[in-house]
Symmetry: C2
Subunit: 338 residues, 2 copies
């Protein structure tokens, strides 16, 4: 059935019913002109992110429920990158009339699973037809934080850390493009169980190698800041790529950075797959986006449970190789309109 057969009101009713919420601080959720919320005594965080078909996703490669899960995750990542916790979400969806109700149901299912996973509630939104044959989504997330971690707090002498392996997501996208169709995972509650396909999707690259890469790309789970925040002086999430996001942090802090190439954490799956593709794993790690790991700085001497990859310096921005050779880096990574 197409959504044109059920209409806007029925679609709204469906969403309202599905995301009914009972949380003490939500005085009014979906269904009126605006949602009403009782403010907490902490500071509030606001962020918004779009996902546009043909730019951020390709429906031949990502399923609607994966798309829904990912939309929430990329927004949660920005709240985490401030050291905060997500609370509420607003959803905007524009879709062509020919979209099936099944598609919308699956999309909402993915959104619902993610919201449950991150303990966040949908409190409002807007839906609209789309004039072109294209789906476009955006979410606004409201979070709370006691002490916000800005991009601008890095100091000369601070160490640079990342919270996990880099490059997996963009390598996962390369694998996915090679496979050329949707890959299904079994999601259930907050845990994501993976269904092993009947046969290998790519000859010479076994499922157990490509599965973590695909999962990082299709069902990213941003790194929560708890445990890293106490000592951090500046923080950002890696969404567009290490080099571009580190450059943003340096710009705001008005400092430079030295990154030690051999310290950047790479997964064995990335190394194996990159070798198969005859590409350098480090280039996925430096320029690939959507890892949703945290990149942060902390003073030397603090005990930090994350991977130390570089140092904040006065002004130059360089990559240092194993033998100590340095070369400058630019803010390379995903940029719209270019």
């Amino acid at each position: 059935m197409k959504i044109s057969q059920i209409g806007e009101l029925a679609l709204l009713e469906k969403i309202r019913h599905r995301f009914r919420t009972k949380q003490r601080n939500i005085l009014l959720g979906i269904g009126d002109d605006a949602a009403v919320v009782k403010p907490s005594s902490n500071k509030l965080l606001f962020t918004t992110d779009m996902m546009v078909e043909g730019v951020h996703f390709d429906l031949s490669l990502i399923s609607p429920s994966q798309l829904g899960f990912k939309l929430v995750s990329v927004n949660v990542s920005d709240i985490y990158a401030m050291g905060g916790s997500p609370l509420y979400m607003l959803l905007n969806l524009s879709a062509p009339k020919s979209t099936t109700v099944r598609f919308i149901d699956d999309l909402l299912q993915g959104i619902r699973e993610a919201l449950r996973h991150y303990s966040c509630s949908l409190i409002g939104g807007d839906i609209s037809a789309s004039s072109h044959n294209m789906i476009s989504l955006s979410a606004t997330l409201i979070g709370t934080v006691r002490k916000p971690l800005l991009r601008s707090g890095a100091d000369i002498g601070d160490r640079i850390y990342v919270t996990g392996n880099l490059g997996d997501s963009s390598c996962g996208l390369a694998v996915l493009k090679r496979i050329g169709r949707q890959v299904s995972f079994l999601q259930s509650g907050s845990s994501v169980r993976v269904r092993r396909p009947a046969s290998n999707l790519l000859p010479k690259l076994p499922w157990k190698v490509i599965e973590p890469l695909l999962r990082r790309h299709l069902l990213p789970e941003p790194r929560a800041p708890k445990g890293y925040a106490p000592h951090a002086t500046a923080m950002i999430d890696i969404s567009d790529g290490l080099l571009i996001d580190l450059s943003r942090l340096c710009d705001e802090s008005n400092v430079g950075a030295k990154v030690y190439l051999d310290k950047i954490p790479l997964s064995p799956e990335l190394k194996k797959t990159a070798r198969h593709f005859r590409k350098s794993p480090i280039s996925f790690a430096l320029r690939g986006g959507e890892d949703y790991e945290l990149l942060f700085t902390a003073p030397q001497g603090k005990k930090v449970n994350a991977r130390y990859i570089g140092d904040i310096v006065r002004s130059e921005r360089t990559l240092v190789n194993r033998s100590g050779g340095e070369k400058p880096f630019l803010a390379e990574g995903y940029q719209h309109f270019s």
Copy 2:
């Protein structure tokens, strides 16, 4: 110059510079992963609205600055409809690479004028390329309210009021389609001065007749709730049309409504123009959208400075004509996907 020539970072920088804000409660505006705001002691309101090219607007008929102004206005209308005041806005914009920098500048100018007009600050957003040749905008507005006015508070015996003339905006759209091109107004600060065109745009319909209709459609200014809120029991803004929005209020309040056709306020310009188009002015008023007047209910006997158009009754929903004849009405007005 195209935005593809300046790129995403320069575009973000432009927006950040243009919307630099110094407000006591905004601890951090545009430029980090999320904005940081000090919550007020009042309740917070959240609303979001999209505007999609080819669905909500046609760029051959509306200028980019009018579009920007209107985007803010339609969102402010939802905050007003809760009895609240707008505080902060987040903006999402997706545009094709071929969009000119001039277009973006004009759009931002309209947004800026509207934000100033409504005493509201831009604190964040997201920009993205668009895969199809289509511009899509959305805004999320955060407001504050002491006592929120819901759709659900209407009681049997309450009177139904509207805050101004209905039908002007949809009739303005009909005029605009007849003209077939953009109409320019001079905007300056919060006041909108209108430039009289050199010659009449439509023979037989003088500029002074069509100007207020066009302005209502292109540069709507939602009605602020102050003055109406104290006695109101339920409130909604008329964005999709009187009948559909009144039906929403009745649905939420679980009541019926009687609307007296001869009490619905119609402007002389609407009457004149509808006659010229051989259409009934009342059909613009009942089913036309985007008037952004408030529709509210208040107990009988309260002195209310608005137009009394009907009564809340137990369950039937009817239109009553001059001679007392009643006929049921349906939730007719703009609906997506149908």
